[in-house]
Every structure is written in structure tokens, then in C-alpha cells.
Subunit: 470 residues, 2 copies
């Protein structure tokens, strides 16, 4: 399980010392070695203990990233790319020390091609920054993992979120990347065409590689026209199972639902208390439709009929922006509302994803496990994709509670894998889920190791992540 799998990466003290000297001289104030800043660059929204880097560099261009990687390559020192630190599985820890490469100063939107529905950005641009920048164009970038993550980090972890059911994940929404490889060379993975059959898919190879194969220095992203109309609402169901059946029917009907989120009973209780809204205290689906005025109304009505067939309802929905925002507020507040279930506790957020036909069963078994283990752990899910999250509320200073939470996560991951699913739908492997990757993909992990060894023979790019020791 997670903590016990934190691999030691041997420290190369002499190399680190040499690299620190060179980078300090070259980057001056843009290279920091203070304890606080180093700690901030390792400690993210995770319970995994902090393993700080030895220094933090703030490059301002792809060329500067190349310089840093070349210094680290010459001295065999780890380089760990850092976006905003919202990752959840220890992705930015530095188990062998080394340099954190903070992309926050690489935050320019380089081009917006409205006719082509694409844009090119530096990796430190966050998704909210990008959408603010696009506001006057009538376009938007849909992927929404919750946190205001950097787009480079979102690509590196193959992030997705609530509207992946309609718009896909980062995998489907990156047209091309520019990245610095382990030898300091710069590669452009693809051109700006919507599709291509020209050679190996280097774009997708880097997406989800968590900074272990290359450091992303620019991204060309797909954009979408802001829909003419949006309708959305909330629909209670007698059970998780009936809610899941309604989701399956909705998707099979071909209704192009933009978001369809399951909130379980415990989470609804937390939301009611937190939001002071008159929600029912039973499992609910929060749904949203994008399209023409007539289209979104038709979709909402059809969904309401499907929900009723499965005993759900009443389905309260609206196309009026303010009312929709109010209806959806609860879903957006889920994280903060959850914390009120156990004041003072912190949350361990974990995610799995299973074929949608197994979703109800997987959630039911997980709820039973939560009850049996005496945990407080509400569930929310991007159920159109079969993806759900559990937030285990725990005292992170209690080794017993951490051990129990890890046992729960382990059982959850193995349950998802046994149901033909994955141990992570969108959070990534990092350090936290390394122990499950071979259970999930077997010999595939050997292929990954072969690729890693070929492209980063010195193992300097984010070492000790994704790939468990062979």
C-alpha cells in the first residue's frame, strides 16, 4: 500500500551540490533554496509525507528549462516539474532530492486560433487563467479537474473532471506538446492539425507520464464554442443503484450530457448542512446539458423521463444561469462540506474508475466497506465515465488512522481492478498508487520501464514515481 511503497531514490550528493552552485549562479533570485519554499514545492494536497527538493528553479522560457535539465543531466540530479501543487498522489515529492522546476513564470497564452478552435499556452497557465483570457472570444477550454490546476500539470497527470463525459480528458484535448527531454533536447510532438497518422503518438505518450519522460514547455489545446444554452439540475434517487441505471440509460440514448455527477447519501447530508439548501437526503444526480435553447430543454426533459422510470425525481432543472448555479452549488462545495463531517480532520482523496455496468456494485461494496471499517468517507462521482472519488476524513497525525485509510484505499483499488477498472481514473499514480500498477497492467509495466530507461537512461526526470521497482 501507498506509504510502504515510497521508494528511496539514492541521493547523488556531489551532483546535487554541483548543480545547486551552477543554477544559483545562473538564475540568481530565480533559484531558491530556502527551507520553506522547498517544502511548499513538495507538500501538496496529499497525506503523503513531504520529501523536499534541494532547490527550486523558476524558468521563464523553454530554453531556460533546457538549460536547467542539461545541468541536471550533466550532474545526474533529479528534476521534478511543478505546476501549482494540486496533485494528490505525491507527484512533486523529491525522494532523491534534486531540483523542483516551477513553471509558474511560464504563464503566457502564446496564441489563440479562433477559427481552428485551438490555442497554444505555456505550462504554467492555469485553466481558470485560460478561460478568463478567452472570455471575449466566445470560446472556452472545458476540462475542469476541480482545482485551478496548471495546464502543464493537467496534461502530465492526464487530468479530467466533471465534464469529461462530454468533452473527454486531457488525452483528447491536447493537439500537440513541446517538451524538454532528459538530455535537454526539445521536442515538438505533433503539429496543429486536428488529426494525424504521422508516426508514433508522442503527444499521448507524454500525457499522463507525470514528468517522468519529459518536461512540458508548451501545449496546444482544443477549444470549444461556449454553448448557446446550458440547462442543469438535481435529481434524487432511491438508491445509488437506480441512479447508476439512469446514467446508463441516458448515455445509451445518446443524450450528449455535459456533466452527470453522483453524490451519495452521506455526501448529500454534508451538503445540506453546509449549503443550507433544501436538498433531499438521498443519492442525487447533478446533471448539465450544453446545446441550443431547444436542445438543452429537450435533453433535460428526456433525462427527467428516464429518471422517473428508475424511481428518481422530482428532477428540478433550469436554463437560467443563476438558478442553475444555485442548484449546482452543493456539488461545487462538496470538498468543503465534507470536512464538516469531522471537524479538524483532513481528507485523503482517492479515485478509481470502472466500467459503468459495474459502478453501482463497486460503490455499494465501497459503502459497505466504509461502514464496516468505521470510516467517514463521502463519495462523489463523475459517473458518466464510471469514475468516483472517496474522501476519507482522518487524523493525519494518527498512524493507526493512516494505516486504516491505506487499507481502505488498497481494498478499493483492488476492487476496481477486479471489476476490469483502473486504480486511478484521473489522479495519476505518483507515489501513492505505485503499488497497484502491476496488479492492473502486469507486463505492461515492464514495457513502461523499457520506455523510461530508453528515454531517461540516468533516471533524472521525476524519479521514484509511477513505476514500482522491478
Amino acid at each position: 500500500m501507498a506509504l510502504s511503497d515510497l521508494r528511496g531514490v539514492e541521493r547523488n550528493e556531489a551532483g546535487i551540490e554541483a548543480a545547486l552552485g551552477i543554477l544559483k549562479q545562473r538564475f540568481g533570485e530565480r533559484f531558491q533554496t530556502g527551507m520553506a519554499i522547498r517544502g511548499q514545492h513538495a507538500h501538496t494536497t496529499t497525506y503523503i509525507p513531504t520529501q523536499a527538493p534541494d532547490g527550486v528553479a523558476f524558468p521563464e522560457s523553454g530554453e531556460e528549462v533546457q538549460e536547467i535539465v542539461k545541468v541536471c543531466a550533466e550532474h545526474r540530479v533529479p528534476v521534478i516539474a511543478f505546476g501549482v501543487g494540486s496533485s494528490l498522489e505525491g507527484h512533486v515529492n523529491a525522494p532523491g532530492g534534486g531540483i523542483s522546476l516551477d513553471t509558474s513564470r511560464m504563464n503566457r497564452v502564446l496564441a489563440v486560433n479562433a477559427e481552428d478552435l485551438d490555442c497554444t499556452v505555456e505550462p504554467g497557465v492555469t485553466r481558470e487563467d485560460l478561460n478568463a483570457y478567452l472570455r471575449d472570444t466566445g470560446l472556452f477550454f472545458p476540462i475542469d479537474p476541480g482545482a485551478n490546476a496548471s495546464l502543464g500539470g493537467m496534461a502530465a497527470t492526464r487530468a479530467s473532471g466533471t465534464n469529461a463525459v462530454r468533452y473527454g480528458t486531457m488525452r483528447e484535448n491536447v493537439l500537440a506538446l513541446q517538451a524538454v527531454m532528459a538530455d535537454g533536447s526539445m521536442v515538438t510532438t505533433a503539429r496543429r492539425a486536428k488529426k494525424s497518422s504521422a508516426g508514433y503518438d508522442l503527444t499521448r505518450l507524454l500525457i499522463g507520464s507525470e514528468g517522468t519522460l519529459g518536461i512540458i514547455t508548451s501545449l496546444t489545446l482544443k477549444l470549444y464554442g461556449i454553448p448557446q444554452a446550458i440547462s442543469g439540475g438535481v435529481c434524487p434517487f432511491p438508491s445509488v443503484e437506480t441512479a447508476c441505471q439512469a446514467v446508463i440509460a441516458t448515455i445509451q440514448m445518446g443524450i450528449p450530457v455535459a456533466r452527470i455527477e453522483l453524490v451519495n447519501q452521506l455526501q448529500m447530508r454534508a451538503l445540506k448542512n453546509y449549503s443550507k439548501l433544501d436538498y433531499p437526503e438521498s443519492p442525487c444526480l447533478f446533471v448539465e446539458f450544453h446545446g441550443s435553447d431547444a436542445g438543452v430543454a429537450e435533453q433535460a426533459e428526456t433525462f427527467g423521463e428516464i429518471a422517473a422510470e428508475y424511481g428518481g425525481g422530482p428532477f428540478l432543472w433550469t436554463s437560467v444561469a443563476e438558478e442553475r448555479t444555485k442548484l449546482w452549488k452543493a456539488r461545487h462545495d462538496a470538498y468543503w462540506a465534507s470536512l464538516t463531517l469531522r471537524p479538524g480532520a483532513k481528507g485523503l482523496s482517492t479515485d478509481v474508475c470502472v466500467p459503468i455496468s459495474r459502478l453501482a456494485e463497486c460503490i455499494a461494496e465501497t459503502e459497505a466497506d466504509i461502514a464496516e471499517m468505521g470510516l467517514i468517507a463521502p463519495i462523489v462521482g463523475h459517473v458518466g465515465d464510471g469514475n468516483f472519488h472517496t474522501l476519507v476524513l482522518m487524523d493525519v497525525d494518527s498512524p493507526e488512522e493512516i494505516a486504516l485509510a491505506e487499507k481502505f484505499v488498497s481494498r478499493l483499488n483492488m476492487r476496481a481492478i477486479a471489476m476490469e477498472g483502473t486504480c486511478t481514473g484521473e489522479h495519476g499514480i505518483g507515489q501513492g498508487k505505485m503499488g497497484f500498477l502491476e496488479h492492473e497492467l502486469g507486463h505492461g509495466v515492464d514495457i513502461m520501464r523499457t520506455i523510461k530507461a530508453a528515454l531517461d537512461p540516468q533516471n533524472i526526470l521525476n524519479p521514484g514515481k509511477i513505476l514500482p521497482a522491478a
Copy 2:
């Protein structure tokens, strides 16, 4: 250019002889060495000269594929996966001889999971076979490259076609693959969950790798509900440019067009003559919409209004299946109609893809080039993606004509690349486009070579394809 880049792959005579003996003994009648059958397995729908393999194996399972690859690995003999032979760029040629691995007996649908909208098939199942199999389920697999290609071959070349604008390409529609690697080991690239952030994207690495990294032995594919209603029609435009502007506006509006095909003036002339239908002799868009009854009517009406704004029309459309089929007949007959433009000639089919904002310019320059070079070469395009095809009609027995066609293709590829596009949107690199890959991706090709060398150190999987000599 193409022919001059056909790389010699050194023949390993002793190894080939040994492998032939072993495979003949093991597979009996399912291993063929007759000249005719060997020639059929190299000669595909291309003008590139045939380079026949030394034998053709017909495995019936993944385990048998492993056996064949292990024999070839032991004796360092090329293995070339073969689907139905509809590829266009010499993908199945055997420049260093070796074994053609014909997947036609691996043609079982292994599972259909209707609730999950997915299925698992063997690689020799063709897309028409699959859709026939699915007929009673209300589901379909949308990717349509024109030919009745095998699904293994479609994944291997990252195929797409007319409705990629709505449903994506093979890249977006394969959930997982099982493949035999160069050492004969079997890998499963992913599980059946709709999305995953678990490690490197081996699925996408194999898709488009044209059999050079692994041989696909099963595919898990996304399926879709057959739409409640389909509307479609034909709309003439005064010029290619106005047609392209209408396409851009349609997509920016967020109209979920399922197909949007450009047919240029010369192609329309051929179609009129061939189909005896009363089409206008000007550039046309053929469009199709999928959705609810009300939805497809609304979409067709909105598209008609957009077309009119750009001087197009009248837009003749219908939701009645027979009438729609008749309107679309011309588009489906394009290949055969084209051949009537020069009786006795054969067609060299080539494709490029550019950002849609450059599409009109790219087609205009290409039409001018065709006129200047005195070629007969109609154009059709999957213009929603910026992808178009040119069919150069030529006498394949004339070296001068071949040289001229190659010059044209070279100029077309370099033009697309100069416009931030790709030398192939959906046909792949094979042998025919190797000369352009470095122009398009530069150092990216070195990364591809590193991956190829790591995963296939003996270079036995489809050698002499995709990667130009370093």
C-alpha cells in the same frame, strides 16, 4: 520522395530459411509460401512496387501469434501484420522479406458490453462485420475509413474517415489493446474503464505504430447508440473558399455535425457523369447530422442558414433514409466516379491535414498545382477536420507519370507541413511518406527511433516502415 525512399532492409537468408521450415511444420496448411499468395500479401491499393514476404502465416489466436513472433525473434526474421490489405502507403510490403502474419482467421467478436458501450474483438474483424454483428443491439461502431478494413489494421494506422469530426478517430475509440511485442510477450495496454491515469498510454503508443512496435491481437472499442434520427443533404457553394468558411462557422457554432465532406468541382463533374444525378457542377458540401428528430431538423436548418450567409445553397436535405442515401450516393461513389475521368488509369490516393483556417488556401494552391502540372486529380475532403484527399489518375506503367505524381505529392506534403499541418491525416506513413516525417516532426523522429530500438532491438516488426534511416 516516396519511391526513392524505399529503404532496403537486409535479408537474413539463413534466418528466413530456418523460420520457414519451423513455421511450415508447425502450421501446415496455415502457412503458405506460394508466389501468388505472397504477392497478394504485399500488393495493396498503392502504386508502390510489391515487395513480397517469404511466407504467409494464418494464426487463429493470440497464442499462435506469440508462437510465430517467437520463432521470428529467435531467427531475426521480419514479421509484418496483415489485415485486409487496404492500406495505401506500402504498409504491408516486406522490403527485407520475412513472414506476413495474416489476421483474417482471428475474426471473432469476443464480447459486447451493451451497458458499457464497448466491445472486444479480434484484429481480423472488419468494421462492416462488426456493425453487422451489432445490428440487433441498437449500437454501432462509427469509424469509417471507406474501405471495409480490419479493425486491427485501422488501429495500427490510426485510421479515421468521414465521421471523425463527430466521433473521433481510432485514437479516441480504442479503450484497450492486447498485443504481442517483439520478444513474443503478450501485453494488455489498459483495462475496460472509460478513462484512466494509470501510467504511460501504451494504447495510444501502439495505435498508429503500423505494426512496428507490436502486433495487435485484440481490441476493446467504444460503441455508440444508433442515433434516433439522421438528417443529411448536399449544399453547393460558389467556391472552395466559401464552403470552407461555412464549415468553420458551423463548427464554431457548436453544431455537432456527424459528417461534413467537401467535394471539389472536378470531383463533382465526375460524380454527375457517373451517378447520372442532377448535382450542380460546383464545389459541394455533403453533410449529415445525428440526434433526436427535433435535433437533427434544427441542426440542418441552422446549417442551411450558415451556408446561405456564405453564398451557398440551396441546401437540399432530408431525414428520410432512402432519400438521404440517394443524396449521399455521389459521395460514396467518389472513387469509382474519379476513375472515369481517365479510363484505364489507376489512382494514387494521398492525404494531408491542415488547421481548418488554412484549408481553403491549401486546397486552392493544390488545385493550381494540379492545373499547372497537367494532372487529373479530383479532391474530396473530411473538411471538418481539415483533412483532404487527392486521387492522382496516372498510368502506373509510365515512369514519367509516376515521377510527376511523386513530385506533386511531395509538393502537397510540404505545403501542408508549411501550413502547420501533417503529411498524413489518416493514411499513415508506411513507406510512401517516410521522406516527410522529419520535415514534419524533426527531433521527434529521433525519439521515435529510440522507442523503436528499445522495444524492438532486432528490428523485426515491420522493418523499413515509418522511420527514415537516421
